[in-house]
Assembly symmetry: C2
């Protein structure tokens, strides 16, 4: 069973009829009809010690901020704003009051920054490591919401920021090189990512997009989800992938293919979206220069295919990279 199989198992029967449910399992958030033209967005993400973070190098305040950020990113990815957060915290016998104090400071600081309030939760003893689950509830106007499923053939495929930074930062931490000169931006991308709440809201409000989601499992996997839900495919161009100079240098120094980080590295919490080609110029104008990159286009085939080169100059054959990357329940696909 891989993660998709498990999700399908629970999706086969969702229990009761869902009168107010606009969107259930399958997008960044569940969508619930609130009142008038307001929708509620609900998301839930867990960070497990030894799986998602290593306490040896993850400062507790960064971890507190990250646990909020990864959920807020899901709300942002549908065009919404976070409003309420709920925390379930599992603590092993060995936890210290100092760790907890710093963790709670980071968490409440992030809640304040993103405009959501910690409204409840649960604290339990863990027989394993630290377990952090947050549920975040957000809001969005119904005319502003963006789903994964509405990408259309001919759409441009866009991403925000540069890709692979969090994967590079994780590798630096693993190799004990997090403290090295210049490593900070990459390491910080892993330790305390910054979801694109304002940018996502502006993009959604523009009415110029067809589909949006956040990049949490890596471009190859996340774009494959978006394509599958839109009954479409995508071609992306290797030369258009936004990769920072710092990532390239770091990869070279480690003897690693930096492009693999950009294509399959998870946890960037950047935005992935599609929009009609006619909106290109206006979309570029919605963000600071260099923030948004057009990396390919949606077509009527299926799967995500990588082209070497640039549009019009791509070399054949294309390589299918759908779902390439990390699955928590299987070794590398």
């Amino acid at each position: 069973l891989n993660e998709r199989d498990i999700i399908n198992l629970f999706s086969r029967s969702t229990g009761a009829k869902c009168r107010q449910l606009v969107q259930g399992i399958g997008d960044d958030c569940a969508v619930i009809r609130a009142s008038g033209d307001r929708l509620w967005l609900v998301t839930m993400d867990t960070l497990m010690e030894s799986i998602h973070f290593d306490s040896a190098w993850h400062p507790p305040d960064s971890l507190g901020r990250k646990s909020v950020a990864v959920n807020v990113s899901d709300i942002a990815a549908m065009g919404g704003r976070p409003a309420f957060a709920f925390l379930s915290l599992g603590l092993p016998q060995s936890f210290t009051p100092e760790w907890l104090d710093l963790f709670s400071r980071g968490l409440t600081e992030a809640c304040r920054q993103y405009g959501c309030c910690l409204a409840g939760g649960d604290t339990v003893r863990s027989a394993g490591g630290i377990v952090i689950t947050l549920t975040v509830i957000g809001e969005v106007a119904s005319k502003q919401i963006l789903y994964r499923r509405n990408a259309r053939p001919g759409d441009d495929v866009w991403v925000s920021g540069t890709l692979g930074n969090a994967a590079a930062g994780l590798e630096l931490c693993r190799r004990g090189k997090a403290g090295e000169k210049d490593a900070f931006p990459l390491v910080e991308s892993h330790l305390s990512p910054a979801p694109r709440v304002d940018l996502a809201s502006r993009l959604a409000a523009s009415g110029m997009l067809h589909a949006m989601m956040d990049l949490s499992d890596g471009l190859a996997t996340d774009l494959a989800h978006l394509c599958a839900q839109s009954n479409a495919g995508a071609v992306i161009y290797a030369d258009l992938l936004p990769v920072s100079g710092l990532l390239q240098e770091t990869a070279r120094a480690m003897g690693i293919d930096g492009r693999r980080w950009a294509l399959t590295g998870g946890e960037d919490y950047e935005l992935l979206f599609t929009a009609p080609a006619r909106n290109r110029k206006k979309i570029i104008g919605l963000a600071e220069e260099g923030t948004l990159s057009r990396i390919g286009c949606i077509d009527e085939k299926s799967g995500v295919r990588l082209a070497e080169g640039k549009p019009g100059k791509e070399s054949q054959p294309l390589k299918d990279i759908s779902y390439l990357g990390y699955d928590h329940f299987q070794s590398d696909a």
Copy 2:
């Protein structure tokens, strides 16, 4: 640090201002203003392997039902009805598809029974044991909601059902006696508790109650919370505690004080509520005969005090039993 200290740590700063938040940390659920006279109730509870359940004896379908039930009980305790459930499931490397299939059947069956739909969540790998976190969102009319904080001196203290059954059932499981003749009702109380959704809703709709909560941490602890939040105290009478004959027999056979199970045993998921004495007869009429028991009264002192005997015939001195029982973060108080 005990569990209350940890909750206080997170309560000291809840992040952003909470415009729509009617009730934050401190009751069975967070309460959010929805539209008109409707309120939303949000609760989140975690079941950890080796802490809250033992996979050696807990059938996966019962565990799936229980993970829904413990959350639904919080919604019911404020007078509401569950509507949506969100599941975060942490699975160790060793999980089997058979376990997962049964667990998901139990979970979706309980969702259907209680009228909530599974609308989203997260599935992750666990480096420790199985971790099950559910968030349940429910609804209640604003004039029907019941908080913990409104108990008043002179109120009767009531409970539903019989107390201590889940603690007795747990002890039977621990001693390998779960399969014994007649053990079933007690064991089932531990493995798959049945929250009082309909009864709670009827009690809340009657308008005759002042305060309500569910019994999850044991009467001595839960009533102490209710009293502290109401700036009041309570006396309960040993002879009025509803204890089943089966529990008494089981305790006797094990050489255990069955009353300790009734006073401090957790996870009964029965209702604890207070109401003015003038409503006694009408309240009795809201449930099947024998379901509701009046066990004491609220007064202007502080803490929960146990009286031997019956009202008017209690023997002095009273014993303070506030918070007696199980705290996940400390050994027995």
